[in-house]
């Protein structure tokens, strides 16, 4: 296997100071290979967005390392991050908030190219190519963001991210704000682009169906910790962690013949200021035993890079499922 484009190890981020310290990300490790799409899934407070920002060094880690193309970027000063900024880009959830309303599309894309001194002398031509790549006609270069629909704006956001020819894109809920029919168009576009450009992606989403469609591997997060990680198809078909099972069961399926209203996970997601001791999921876990409160469960191997952090063994879990 080729060297990963991104490798995070023991990544930890805490905001604020005790006693009101938010433990956003705790001891998270995973890799992204060139051309690979890795999904980060979880609910509010799972730390998925913070991990995306850490990977791009938009926020500084409290502990742990971030290797980008084999180089440790976790403690590099801002002025030395320019090469990283060119190799890694971000796509945001809200296509309305992430484009400068006072710039034409040509200004938005031009800014991205100029920041890295790219396509000098043939900038307009390059910008037209970028629009073509995301399925928009070149005339749109002269329009302002408000003249576009949500789906078209998201395409412009993607074109901007692609302007610097990045190797990795961090996509933070890029289709969550879009209507289903438009979401499908953007998902297909991302699917095409990754194949054509051999793009690696860190794909952040709360929607398991979207993750199953797009991601080669998935990292399931809860309260800042990795619950389960593995090939997406494998995790979806044979989830080993009770949280992954609950998450899969709770996502509504558009299948009226399926079971209505799944078995419910009780209670609320605890506060990341005071996460439960031991396994952070234990307060809502249908399988929790006393030992779960004592130790943070280590990662168990389930084969083929499929790992899960749970003390209960698989046979007991099958019984409860």
């Amino acid at each position: 296997m080729s060297n990963p484009i991104l490798a995070v190890d023991g990544l930890t981020k805490r905001f604020g100071r005790p006693p009101a310290q938010v433990r956003a990300v705790e001891d998270v490790s995973f890799t992204v290979a060139p051309g690979e799409v890795v999904g980060l899934v979880g609910e509010s407070g799972s730390g998925k967005s913070t991990i995306g920002r850490l990977a791009l060094r938009l926020v500084d880690p409290t502990a742990g390392t971030i290797l980008f193309d084999g180089q440790d970027v976790s403690t590099l000063p801002e002025r030395r991050l320019t090469p990283l900024r060119r190799r890694a880009q971000m796509i945001f959830q809200d296509p309305y908030a992430s484009l400068n309303p006072r710039l034409r599309v040509s200004g938005i894309l031009g800014e991205a190219l100029a920041a890295h001194g790219l396509a000098r002398g043939r900038r307009r031509e390059r910008m037209a190519e970028l629009l073509d790549l995301v399925g928009l006609p070149p005339e749109h270069l002269d329009r302002f963001p408000h003249e576009f629909s949500g789906g078209q704006r998201q395409r412009i956001g993607i074109a901007r991210a692609l302007a610097v020819e990045p190797g990795l894109i961090v996509a933070d809920e890029p289709v969550s704000a879009l209507d289903v029919s438009v979401q499908a168009q953007v998902l297909n576009l991302l699917q095409d682009l990754r194949a054509r450009l051999n793009l690696a992606m860190l794909f952040i989403s709360h929607d398991l169906d979207v993750v199953e469609l797009l991601c080669d591997r998935v990292v399931v997060l809860y309260l800042g910790r990795v619950m389960e990680i593995g090939p997406t198809a494998e995790v979806a078909a044979r989830p080993r962690h009770p949280y992954t099972r609950a998450l899969l069961a709770a996502s509504p399926k558009a299948d009226p013949d399926g079971a209505r209203i799944a078995r419910l996970l009780k209670g609320d997601i605890p506060s990341p200021i005071a996460p439960p001791s031991g396994c952070v999921f234990r307060t809502r876990c249908p399988l929790a035993v006393e030992a779960c409160a004592r130790d943070v469960p280590p990662m168990h191997e389930a084969g083929d890079g499929h790992r899960f952090a749970c003390l209960r063994d698989a046979s007991e879990m099958r019984e409860a499922a």
Binding site: D179, A184, A195, D207, K253, A254, L264, D268
Partner: protein, 333 residues
């Protein structure tokens, strides 16, 4: 079949704007029977929320008005009232006593300076004529009804002290406090995490079963529709384009938009020649389709479009006893 509780017929809603009058809703026909959940499903701009506001008499005045059609509601006393014609005062009284509404964002309907108990008590004192103590007792019962743990203690919490899921429960408690016969739920779980969404959907469903109230459930999420609805009405560009029982409609959509919407779901992706999974998407976007009057509003995006579709506005045609589709060529679906 039971007589419907709510029956919306040929509803048209108009808004005055700076650029003249617009009609975000031009053809809505939908009914809700007691004990039944009907999902009104559509994408942004389809007119689903405007339709529900019209039912509640909550269209912004004076800009918005019901321009055509009837909103018939059968009261507890057995009387049938056209909510589109009734006096605002009459509609307001029904809204508290018989028809309740819950929204996506609980903070828009909860008062931030009142505790959970105070808001419910205030409402039941008005509508059920209880004294202060009786009202507070009722408030606690309502919090217990919506499965809020330690309800007696939670009674004294303010909305900002609660999680999103807990606030949604308080809003449901508030809605249920006056024993509504009809609940209008406008995207009540859209802002919630999936494990919390599942809890709230189960709660609404339990309350429906226990009280026999009818539920008009407005959502954009087809997964949620499949889980909660008995019948579905699909909206596009201000019109109902298809209605039917949920299973039948999901299995055999009779309108190309419904079919396209279902195919757009990531779970229905199919593997393409490149070995990657792709979704069948609907090209284009809704745009200004609501303004199309003398043609099928979906024609510009329809993969089955024919010449007639651009010349004739299709009627909502009944198919058998419980289905209808607004497509000239539904037989070919």
């Amino acid at each position: 079949m039971t007589e419907p509780l709510l029956s919306i017929e040929d509803l048209e809603v108009r808004f005055r704007t700076e650029d003249g009058e617009v009609a975000p809703v031009t053809g809505v026909d939908v009914s809700v029977a007691p004990g039944e959940t009907v999902a009104l499903v559509g994408e942004s701009g389809s007119g689903k929320s405007v339709s529900s506001l019209a039912v509640m008499g909550l269209l912004p005045r004076p800009a918005g008005r019901v321009a055509k059609g009837r909103i018939l509601y059968r009261t507890k006393a057995g009387e049938t009232i056209d909510l589109a014609q009734a006096s605002p005062d009459r509609v307001r009284r029904l809204r508290g006593a018989e028809i309740a509404m819950i929204f996506q964002e609980p903070m828009t309907s909860l008062n931030p300076v009142l505790t959970a108990g105070e808001q419910i008590a205030e409402s039941v004192r008005l509508h059920l004529r209880l004294d202060r103590r009786g009202a507070l007792r009722r408030a606690q019962e309502m919090l217990e009804l919506v499965e809020i743990p330690a309800a007696a203690k939670r009674l004294h919490d303010y909305p900002h002290q609660m999680s999103g899921g807990m606030r949604q429960r308080v809003m449901i408690a508030l809605a249920m406090a006056c024993n509504p016969r009809l609940l209008i739920a406008d995207e009540p779980t859209t802002a919630l995490d999936v494990t919390i969404q599942a809890q709230i959907l189960a709660l609404i469903d339990r309350l429906r079963r226990e009280t026999g109230m009818g539920v008009l459930f407005i959502t954009h999420n087809l997964g949620v529709v499949a889980e909660v609805a008995d019948r579905v009405a699909v909206m596009y560009a201000g019109r109902i384009v298809e209605t039917g029982p949920v299973g039948d409609l999901f299995r055999h959509p009779r309108h190309p938009y419904t079919a396209g919407l279902l195919d757009s779901l990531p779970a229905r992706a199919t593997r393409g020649p490149d070995g990657r999974r792709h979704v069948r998407s609907i090209p284009g976007s809704l745009g200004r389709a609501a303004a199309i009057r003398d043609a099928c509003a979906f024609a510009p995006r329809c993969d089955r479009v024919r010449e007639e579709c651009r010349r004739t506005a299709p009627p909502l045609e009944a198919i058998g006893v419980d289905r209808a589709a607004r497509c000239l060529f539904w037989r070919e679906m």
